[in-house]
């Protein structure tokens, strides 16, 4: 394309999309000026700031006071989780491909540069975060680790996508076992989760919180739709009670009062206590998400199953729940994101997460009293924003894929 040929098109485009009416002219000018100014502020911040505090404390932000001699455990756990994620993604893709082949539909395969483009659209903030973090490191090791993680992700995804149906069963067992192995490796030297800190703690609290809360949430959702008035009343009472209060008050409960509710010999560490409360909190929200899913399953489904003579337990387990849970996937990702963001609150009750690490770094002799929160807080914000953004994009894609929006 030459510029002379494209200019009229460009002019027309600008006129149509930016300056069509007086109001639009006004909005374009004002907002354009605001954008330019904001960009100037961001660039000035990036150019003039000294990021030494982040450079020195990067490990503190990522893993808290996890012993530096044991950092290889974190690396191994990361690699295992990368394999898990890749394998699961690949196998899901293979399964979807086979299902559509059985149904006689040809899925439009996204390949080559378009596939890369789709990846970039979803995961560029994560890439940005990783690049920003790696730019702050002083040795080559973290870069090599990052390359290894990405390599393993791609390789295991390819492997997962090319497994036959039988090996795939084994694959799923491996997928379940890998996180357990990762946890075992992380905690093997007597470093249970009560000793974890930094971004690792935020991620752990999010994943563990959702996992532990999920079965309770499903039970509560079923309880809320139960025809037994007592069960329904308790479920509703619990859900509304928890959903009515801010998480921070429950966290206050965890650090100040939970000890009083437990028997005297039981003295869980602070991360454990917070995890208990997060699980209790999250269960109520998951219950509402699952309830939404249950409502989306047409009544005819369970009636049809009844007419086939299926017992009630089997109807719930085989007919209703699978459809309901499938419908809840995007909302569950949303819940996951909001819990991820809420884990910053643990800093207020004294846990050493990534936000607390910002305070720790600012109390060190080299950085005390210099107002360097203006450097550390944006970094913390970037970490959360990148994670949430990537997940919400992924949720949007899942929603479109599953065709849930179209029902």
């Amino acid at each position: 394309m030459t510029t002379t040929a494209s200019r009229p098109v460009a002019v027309r485009w600008v006129k149509k999309n930016l300056f069509s009416t007086p109001l639009n002219v006004f909005l374009t000018v004002v907002l354009g000026a605001a954008i330019v100014y904001l960009a100037y502020l961001v660039i000035r911040f990036l150019v003039t700031s000294n990021f030494e505090i982040l450079r020195v404390n990067l490990a503190l932000f990522m893993v808290g006071s996890f012993p530096r001699a044991q950092l290889w455990r974190v690396v191994v756990a990361l690699l295992l989780l990368a394999i898990m994620a890749g394998l699961a993604g690949g196998m899901l893709k293979a399964a979807a491909r086979e299902r559509s082949k059985d149904a006689g539909i040809r899925l439009a395969e996204v390949r080559g540069s378009r596939a890369v483009g789709s990846w970039l659209r979803r995961f560029w903030p994560l890439g940005l975060l990783v690049i920003a973090a790696l730019a702050l490191t002083r040795t080559l090791t973290p870069t090599l680790v990052a390359i290894a993680v990405v390599g393993l992700l791609v390789a295991s995804r390819w492997l997962g996508a090319h497994l036959g149906p039988i090996p795939r069963r084994v694959g799923w067992i491996v997928v379940v076992l890998l996180p357990l192995a990762a946890y075992w490796i992380l905690s093997a030297s007597g470093l249970g989760w009560d000793d974890w800190g930094g971004f690792m703690l935020n991620i752990f609290l999010t994943i563990a919180g959702i996992l532990f809360a999920f079965p309770i949430g499903v039970a509560l959702a079923l309880g809320r739709r139960s025809t037994l008035p007592v069960v329904r009343a308790f479920s509703i009472g619990y859900i509304e009670l928890i959903r009515g209060v801010p998480l921070i008050t429950l966290l206050l409960m965890a650090v100040f009062a939970l000890g009083f509710f437990l028997p005297r010999d039981l003295r869980p560490g602070s991360v454990t206590r917070v995890l208990i409360v997060i699980t209790a909190f999250e269960a109520a929200y998951i219950a509402e998400v699952v309830r939404g899913g249950l409502q989306s399953v047409p009544r005819g489904q369970s009636e049809a199953a009844q007419s086939l003579g299926l017992p009630a337990l089997k109807i719930t387990r085989l007919i209703v729940l699978p459809q309901a849970l499938r419908a809840t996937i995007p909302a569950m990702v949303g819940q996951f994101i909001s819990l991820f963001k809420d884990t910053t609150l643990v800093a207020i009750v004294g846990l050493g997460d990534i936000l607390a690490a910002s305070s720790f770094a600012n109390a060190q002799p080299a950085f005390n009293a210099q107002g360097l929160a203006r450097i550390t807080l944006p970094f913390v914000a970037l970490a959360f924003w990148a994670g949430s953004f990537a997940m919400s994009r992924e949720a949007g894609r899942l929603e479109r894929r599953l065709g849930i929006g179209e029902r």
Binding site: E240, R243, T249, F260, F261, L345, A381
Partner: protein, 386 residues
């Protein structure tokens, strides 16, 4: 059909139902009893008071933006905190609604830049932890304002520093109470007229002019009462005298940081709801409106938005609830809403379990009332829809 095929009682639906419920109830009550047993025992063993008498003891410290002395009881300090939470809600909820609707509509704008900026606004804000948004608003916006020792006084109407904002306000005169009573009656009258004009409009199709009718009545009655009662209210401008600002209304900088940050944050969620709801209005509606030669604004105002809002209201109310719960994050920037006051009370030696229970209770009351209203509204909608 064998007559003896009567279901044995352990498989009888009715028996099972009752049994299951009894067991469930027993289990829950037993669990509650165990917790209660542990709490009372443990607290007594550790020498912590188990009663609520601490509410009458002095709070011990002052609270920013209130006249309470350190000798005031804990009860009043907590009430002051609840009042501040309420203030955050009253100011923030309308603000976030306006912002949310603007940005939500903006995302569907035909202006490319407006659409892109609106979607960037949503994507940036809703993916940040609200706690960080609050801290940023405080540090990067409010603290940038002039220091408390040399505030600016735009137009002589405002006194603004990063500590406090002072705006013109009313000062009560002699007949303040009767005047407010008259105004209240006028407002009720206005509402009544509104309803009457609407009915007339629906029945006869004559233009309703309900704004004119009701606001006119309120203005007329209010002005008359104001003149008759002899200036019951006067406007005062904030006056700077040394370090003291006299007159007008004031708000702490931290208050505006929290309101602003949470309104922006929550509005990003509201915008998504608004956008989704507008897209959910069938395309035929807009096309029909175009066929009637309605302008773009009229299509939006009279056809699309009313329908979209009906879809959007329940999730938006949910966001309102989230906003109210998130006001607890003010603790990070030192605005004395109820959570911060509770935190202070615990730090100054009041028994933590009771304080936390009161704190949760105050949020619960608010949330349950809103929940109830939403459920009632939902039921109402469902009846209308079928």
């Amino acid at each position: 059909m064998i007559p003896s095929a009567r279901v044995p009682f352990w498989r009888d639906q009715r028996v099972l139902r009752v049994a299951a419920q009894v067991v469930a109830a027993l289990a829950v009550f037993f669990l509650l009893y165990v917790l209660w047993f542990n709490v009372t025992n443990n607290m007594r063993a550790r020498g912590v008071r188990t009663d609520f008498n601490f509410l009458d003891q002095p709070f011990g410290v002052r609270i920013a933006g209130s006249d309470l002395r350190p000798t005031a009881p804990v009860r009043l300090a907590l009430l002051n905190g609840i009042r501040n939470t309420f203030a955050l809600a009253i100011v923030g909820l309308p603000l976030l609604t306006i912002l949310g609707v603007l940005v939500g509509v903006g995302r569907l704008s035909t202006n490319w830049l407006v659409a892109k900026i609106s979607s960037a606004y949503v994507e940036i804000l809703r993916n940040l932890p609200p706690l960080l948004v609050v801290i940023f608003a405080f540090q990067a916006v409010i603290l940038r304002l002039p220091a408390a020792r040399n505030p600016i006084t735009p137009f002589g109407w405002f006194v603004i520093s990063n500590l406090e904002f002072h705006v013109p306000g009313f000062r009560a005169g002699d007949n303040y109470r009767p005047f407010m009573l008259v105004v209240l009656v006028a407002v009720l009258l206005g509402a009544l007229l509104w309803w009457w004009r609407t009915r007339v409009h629906e029945r006869t199709g004559t233009p309703h002019h309900r704004w004119l009718w009701s606001l006119g009545t309120i203005a007329l009655v209010g002005t008359m009462a104001y003149l008759i009662l002899g200036r019951p209210l006067t406007i005062t401008l904030p006056q700077l005298e040394g370090r003291v600002v006299d007159g007008g209304y004031r708000g702490l900088g931290a208050f505006f940081a929290v309101v602003g940050a949470l309104a922006f944050y929550t509005s990003s969620h509201v915008a998504e709801i608004v956008r989704g709801s507008i897209l959910a209005v069938p395309k035929g509606q807009t096309e029909a409106a175009s066929a009637l030669a309605l302008s773009g604004f009229q299509r939006l105002r009279f056809v699309v938005l009313p329908q979209a809002m009906r879809i959007a209201l329940p999730p938006i109310i949910n966001q309102y609830l989230n906003y109210v719960k998130n006001t607890s994050l003010a603790i990070a920037v030192g605005f004395a809403e109820v959570t911060l006051v509770a935190f202070q009370a615990i730090g100054n030696g009041q028994p933590a379990p009771q304080v936390v229970v009161l704190l949760m209770g105050s949020y619960l009351v608010f949330s349950l009332v809103i929940s109830l209203l939403v459920n009632l509204y939902n039921r109402h909608l469902r009846i209308v829809a079928r």
